[in-house]
């Protein structure tokens, strides 16, 4: 078991990598900067994901699928900052949290409505909603939180 500083360091590099490039770095890319062997970096990644269970690896792999509020695997929640659309939010709820990764910037979220496919657009800056289209946009939790609901809460 690695110490908390190492887990923090890997977490920080993953989150920073997602913000800077739109994708999560692979553990092998993180090994040398963290002073670890590649295998120990892989093991550390699993520790980080255990400590951050709201994210997950793609099943049966060591690939980061979700690292909320962003997703390494594309979702319908496309995120645009500074004219660049290179990010995806984990879900519609976490989409409202992406603003905290881009201080001072307008963060735009575009998604097709799962009912009709028409657009849903949300813009935020430093946590404040600056634009919503259409005006009636609503959040919806389908399964409820908690393991007793038996399904991933992001659905």
């Amino acid at each position: 078991m690695a110490d908390a500083r190492l887990r923090d360091a890997m977490f920080h590099r993953i989150m920073r990598g997602l913000v800077d490039t739109g994708r999560a770095p692979h553990y092998a890319e993180l090994a040398r900067p963290l002073g670890l062997s590649v295998e120990n970096a892989r093991l550390l990644l699993h520790e980080v994901m255990q400590a951050y269970p709201i994210g997950w690896l793609h099943p049966e792999t060591d690939f980061i699928a979700s690292f909320p509020p962003l997703n390494n695997l594309p979702t319908q929640y496309r995120v645009t900052v500074g004219g660049r659309q290179i990010w995806f939010a984990q879900c519609g709820f976490e989409a409202t949290s992406v603003t905290w990764l881009f201080p001072g910037e307008i963060v735009r979220v575009d998604a097709p409505c799962l009912d009709c496919g028409d657009p849903v657009t949300l813009e935020m800056r430093d946590g404040r909603i600056t634009r919503v289209e259409p005006a009636g946009v609503i959040g919806h939790l389908n399964f409820g939180f908690g393991p007793s609901r038996g399904r991933p809460a992001f659905l």
């Binding site: 908390a4 500083r5 923090d8 913000v19 009636g136 959040g139 919806h140 409820g144 939180f145 007793s148």
Partner: protein, 82 residues
């Protein structure tokens, strides 16, 4: 956890569960739910060890503040399953 154009759009979604009638949340409340203090520190080097552990309590306090106190929102067992 999705965004819909309106409540009616959500209800027409083929995967909509009847139980989730209580799962609607207004956008300003949702933004507040995801704006608790720990969220402001996601880019700090000690987020995982220092800030993330505070998240659950913050979320519960916020949900109680906006009146979402059912097991569905709080993630607690349903009465019937106790």
């Amino acid at each position: 956890m999705n965004l819909f154009r309106s409540e009616d759009h959500a209800r027409r979604w083929p995967a909509f569960l009847p139980r989730s009638e209580e799962g609607f949340i207004a956008l300003p409340d949702l933004a507040g739910f995801f704006a608790t203090e720990s969220r402001h520190h996601m880019l700090e080097p000690d987020y995982l060890s220092t800030w993330y552990p505070r998240r659950a309590a913050e979320r519960r306090a916020y949900l109680e503040h906006i009146g979402k106190t059912t097991p569905f929102w709080l993630g607690t067992p349903d009465e019937a399953s106790r």
